[in-house]
Subunit: 250 residues, 2 copies
């Protein structure tokens, strides 16, 4: 696989878990670990639990925000256990792996981030909305929260199985080589900002009472995994609307 | 699924891992934990790592030998990372789950054991040979050893995925309801003892230089997952040979 896969941990509290994650990653051939504002890192406890995956810890990148961690990624998956107010498309880890493999084949390799939340509270709604897909490990409802290293182990295992079995043919999303690279996450965010400001200008969106408009718009567009050309087309469309509004006001 | 699935841990050294295993099991809906001569149990560390799966720890059974743990099981899987001198059929966790589901459908539920070895050395060859199938999580060759709780998480996850997806149709082993219950592990052991003593009597097997005969015989018969009727037929055959030898010597 040419795809570059990052495991992103947000605000991890227990240092030992960071080591357990590094070990699980290395077992499955992953090496890019990004830590968003960890409570403590590096630490002796992380190294002990890594059990030989020190190279993953040494190469780990620490950043201040989730946005920084995922800005250059084309595919961003958030792991999530909870049901949300507005349902977001949810895939299981096997479907996630198939999508990653299919994208890898169709686009000559993309940057992928898989985001894991806090041990006790997972990811916030705002963080989840930065991600295109939500992945849920199908645990039992009455005891659903996996240890974070165990969750990374399952996710990384599915990616490895998919790369070994070449399941990309089973993923319907891209059955053919794609004609443009997928948009990066920061490009999507700029586009959403553009949407929001434009809809405020048109009067469609009341900034004092935005309701669920932006959330539902994100959900819609992210589900499609837009490519760079498509993002440019949408932004061109927004720009053209703004110009029209401007001229009408005169 | 009607099948009763035991997770069997052999000589676990780190108490915390027992707790991690209990949590991973409960996350995936498994509850039967059997500990073969653990270094320390119960322990505060196990309870801490169980993070709410105390009921699994409380119900855990401690036994002295692997043989005791698996005696009443019809399907026994050993997890293994190492290549062995005599290659044994190896399946990946997904194949294992498909076999369990297929057996569940074909036999109205069987008792299944999945055996995990020591943190540092896994299972001995003798222990592996008590098990019908070897399961290998496809980790990278240069860093192949998973944490035991992470390994249980992957195995339990595959069983849960298989039960949710109903993949039994993909398993070729039993495409039809079976006409007899599968043999229990202790019945198989008695049969192998019977084979061994009979082959010594016939002179085929030199007890001072047994070579690989019994290992290869086990591998052959276990691969087929014999049912109770088949075991009785084989033992009847052995008994008949012994009688013949007895009469010839006279």
């Amino acid at each position: 696989m040419q795809t570059d896969i990052k495991i992103v941990l947000v605000n991890t509290t227990h240092s030992g878990n960071i080591g357990g994650v590094a070990r699980a990653m290395k077992n499955m051939g992953l090496s890019n670990l990004v830590l968003v504002a960890p409570k403590s890192f590096p630490s002796a406890e992380a190294s002990a639990r890594a059990a030989g995956a020190d190279d993953v810890l040494t190469a780990a990148i620490v950043v201040e925000s989730l946005q920084q961690a995922i800005a250059d990624c084309q595919l961003v998956f958030a792991t999530s256990a909870r049901e949300r107010h507005i349902p977001w498309p949810i895939m299981d880890p096997r479907e996630m792996a198939a999508v990653i493999c299919a994208a890898d084949k169709a686009t000559d390799g993309s940057k992928v981030a898989i985001v894991f939340g806090r041990e006790d509270r997972g990811l916030t709604n705002e963080e989840l909305h930065l991600c295109q897909h939500h992945v849920c490990i199908p645990s039992v409802a009455s005891f659903s929260s996996l240890n974070i290293a165990a969750a990374v182990q399952v996710i990384a295992y599915e990616i490895r199985m998919a790369s070994l079995l070449d399941v990309s043919a089973q993923a319907p999303q891209w059955g053919t080589p794609w004609d443009a690279p997928l948009a990066e996450q920061r490009e999507l965010e700029l586009m959403f900002d553009h949407f929001e400001s434009t809809m405020v200008k048109t009067g469609f969106l009341d900034p004092n009472s935005p309701r669920q408009f932006m959330t539902r718009l994100r959900r819609l567009i992210m589900r499609a995994l837009p490519d760079k050309i498509e993002v440019n087309i949408l932004r061109g469309m927004l720009t053209s609307i703004t110009k029209y509004i401007g001229s009408e006001k005169k």
